[in-house]
């Protein structure tokens, strides 16, 4: 085991004036508005009755309820993890709602056309196309041909409003629906795979999610099928004092291919809100799954008031030979991020990739990275992490690479770069490496640098203002990761990099 910690000390770096100027440009979270709508809540707090109520609201079969209760009982015996480099204030688990749904969704609408227009407007305002002829906002129309379709599952607080392109996907044999719908329609698949990658008691937050999960997406791609379009889920937290506990399950059968995108936002509030998600991906022989996230939960204000607590367990199991999974994440939001999308490389010749950009500004904290568990022969993994820290933020890359005795001739390459803006933030790199066979190789490279004043001056001398200059330089720093995103998200992510650094370089 090797751990390495690089903390930025106080140095000259970006000069005071730069810091002040950028600080004075007010930081603006673009999705901080809320939808005014009548909501139906379960009573505050968490107990077995609440879980029964959630299960009942979802019209779940008995086995699903038992599974939840089992998770809940395990959760009661567990404690919040404390090993991350995060300062987590006490979370009042009994003071929040675990289920919130727009009153208009009580009677489940037959299709998206029947959904309350106010809810549809919400997504329109966010730039999410719930009409099938529309494309994701941020994509320059002229450059995109009509066949770049994106199917969307829109999750609002605890419920899915509906999914688009259902018919077209069904023709290809692809199932894309909310997890609650899947529990009812495809119980055998859910029973077989739910919890098979992230067990109920995997960790404190996964156990909590298993007990109370509300909607999320279910994807099943049958053998040999290449999913004809990008699939995406857009999560919106709207209700106050409400946790969101989405659960996503993706299954790629032998030789299947699918690319899935996930986005999320929440209104500006001065209280914290909990988001504890679980994503499980099962990848069978020769199948490939690409999972991309643009996480833009409300980060809190410049004094660290409010913001989402984001505790997420994401894991992919490359169960059979030559299975391949690729995680790409752009983490710009949340007050606290605790997230390690991981790959279990079980089959021989499997491949796992993790590309990450984590931007923390003001008082945000992020402890994020990945685990690459090499179990199969000739398995390969690649990790590219770009951490950007500004303001008073703390940003940690935490990664584990293990090569088990049977994972002979396996390879890992890890590259972790940290960029500091100003002198009051911190960047840390904590890589754990375990190699238990002689033929495998692990390479790790890490750098920590400051945003370079010469680069900023060069940009400004060509006419860019300071904010544009910082955004350009940081986008350059993140390029290797940005280019891994599907086109639909790349532009949005680039703009987000700029927005999330607004208001404080320092």
């Amino acid at each position: 085991m090797a751990a390495l910690d690089t903390t930025a000390d106080v140095r000259e770096g970006v000069d005071r004036e730069t810091v002040e100027t950028v600080r004075s440009m007010s930081g603006t979270y673009k999705h901080g508005w809320e939808t005014d709508i009548e909501m139906e809540f379960a009573p505050k707090g968490l107990n077995e009755d609440i879980i029964r109520l959630i299960s009942d609201k979802n019209g779940e079969p008995e086995w699903m309820l038992e599974w939840r209760l089992d998770a809940y009982r395990r959760w009661l015996t567990m404690e919040e993890p404390d090993w991350a480099l995060l300062e987590i204030p006490p979370i009042p688990y009994q003071e929040q709602y675990y289920y919130a749904k727009p009153a208009s969704m009580t009677e489940k609408p037959k299709s998206l056309d029947d959904v309350d227009p106010k809810l549809l407007e919400t997504y329109e305002k966010l730039g999410i196309p719930l009409k099938e002829q529309m494309l994701l906002a941020g994509v320059e129309g002229a450059e995109v041909s009509n066949d770049r379709k994106v199917a969307v599952d829109a999750v609002f607080d605890s419920v899915s409003l509906g999914t688009t392109f259902k018919d077209e996907l069904a023709k290809a044999g692809v199932i894309f629906c909310s997890i609650s719908e899947a529990v009812q329609k495809y119980p055998e698949l859910v029973k077989k795979y739910l919890g098979s990658v992230v067990p109920q008691n995997d960790n404190f937050f996964a156990a909590l999610n298993s007990a109370v999960f509300s909607d999320g997406s279910f994807v099943y791609v049958p053998a040999g099928v290449r999913c004809p379009m990008e699939l995406s889920t857009y999560f919106r937290i709207n209700a106050e004092n409400t946790g969101q506990f989405e659960r996503t399950l993706i299954i790629a059968e032998k030789g299947a291919h699918v690319s899935y995108l996930e986005g999320c936002t929440a209104p500006k509030r001065d209280t914290h809100q909990l988001h504890a998600a679980v994503v499980e991906i099962v990848v069978l022989e020769d199948a490939e799954v690409k999972y991309s996230t643009v996480q833009n939960w409300y980060p809190g204000d410049e004094d660290g008031v409010g913001g989402i607590y984001n505790f997420v367990t994401k894991r992919a199991d490359c169960r059979e030979a030559r299975a391949k999974v690729m995680w790409t994440q752009v983490e710009t939001g949340s007050a606290i991020t605790w997230k390690y999308p991981s790959c279990i490389l079980r089959g021989d010749d499997t491949q796992g990739e993790f590309y990450s950009i984590a931007i923390t500004n003001n008082h945000q904290q992020a402890d994020t990275g990945t685990k690459m568990i090499h179990l199969g022969k000739n398995s390969k993994s690649r990790i590219v992490s770009k951490g950007i820290s500004a303001g008073f933020a703390q940003n940690t890359y935490r990664g584990l690479v293990t090569m088990h005795p049977k994972a002979t001739n396996s390879r890992n390459y890890t590259q972790c770069d940290s960029l500091l803006i100003g002198d009051r933030c911190g960047a840390h790199t904590v890589p754990y490496i375990e190699v238990k066979n002689a033929s495998s190789r692990v390479e790790h490279e890490a750098t920590t640098s400051k945003v370079d004043d010469d680069q900023l001056f060069y940009c400004r001398s060509r006419g860019m203002d300071e904010e544009e200059a910082v955004a350009l330089v940081v986008n350059g720093f993140c390029r290797e990761v940005l280019q891994e995103l599907p086109m639909e998200f790349a532009m949005e992510a680039q703009a987000l990099v700029a927005i999330s650094l607004e208001g404080s370089v320092g």
Partner: protein
């Protein structure tokens, strides 16, 4: 065009280091002025102070561009007002495509001047045409800004930016250093193509050879933070033949 009066500047963090000690200089529209002088005489500092780089404190004097006070503006405002500096050491920006950089710069200036931004397509046409004259190929336009460029490529890239941004006042800091004969010709041709009645040039160079290609109207000699002599092109030849020594002695 550019008018510098009694300009004094020192290091911001150490006021004992006085670099510019009363620079007087006036470059008219359509004129090419050269500044020569030994290493450390303050030539680069003058170019930085004009373009607004941090780290220097102006203690006295003024600098105006077409009557506008340069010293009161942010670097990007000076650029939008028409000032351009070709850097002695162009800066590398990893991960940022050269083309993206130039398009962002040009559109930022256009926006500042209240002009419409150029579309990706229109920009591409313009940049390709200008790059061709400087023998800058498509590959160099795609690569990250100055990253892994040879010395000559960096200098040609500076001139490409200048051609693209069409500034009113161009300051070139040792654009000739590190260039072989062919590259020097390319760069000089690039500069000469931009010479016109509405544009001024201040060409900083250590050697006379660049001035064989870019013929100056006026030559200044700088030493210890001042212009100590001003003359015609023949002054550059005098430096070439006799070195700075005797000129400095004569003062």
């Amino acid at each position: 065009m550019l008018e510098i009066k009694n300009l004094h500047a020192e290091l911001e963090e150490d006021s004992d280091v006085k670099i510019l000690r009363g620079v007087d200089l006036k470059v008219g529209a359509g004129e090419v002025h050269a500044i020569m002088g030994p290493n450390g005489s303050g030539k680069s500092t003058l170019s930085y102070v004009l373009s607004g780089r941090d780290g220097y404190e102006v203690t006295e004097g003024s600098a105006t561009l077409e009557g506008h006070d340069l010293l009161d503006m942010e670097p990007e405002e000076r650029a939008a007002a028409g000032l351009f500096l070709a850097f002695q050491y162009p800066v590398e920006i990893p991960g940022v495509g050269n083309m993206t950089f130039m398009r962002t710069a040009l559109n930022a200036q256009r926006k500042a001047r209240g002009q419409e931004e150029l579309s990706a397509g229109d920009f591409l046409k313009i940049v390709r045409a200008k790059a061709k004259d400087l023998q800058i190929d498509a590959d160099m336009l795609k690569r990250p800004v100055n990253t892994g460029f040879s010395g000559g490529e960096k200098k040609r890239n500076e001139i490409l930016q200048m051609a693209l941004l069409e500034p009113k006042m161009c300051v070139l800091d040792e654009t000739d250093s590190g260039l072989d004969v062919d590259a020097m010709k390319l760069v000089s041709d690039g500069v000469n193509a931009l010479r016109d009645a509405g544009r001024g040039f201040l060409v900083i160079t250590h050697y006379q050879r660049l001035l064989n290609h870019i013929k100056p109207d006026v030559v200044h000699i700088m030493s210890e933070g001042r212009i100590i002599r001003t003359g015609g092109p023949e002054l550059a030849l005098e430096v070439e033949e006799q070195g700075y020594g005797h000129i400095l002695e004569a003062v």
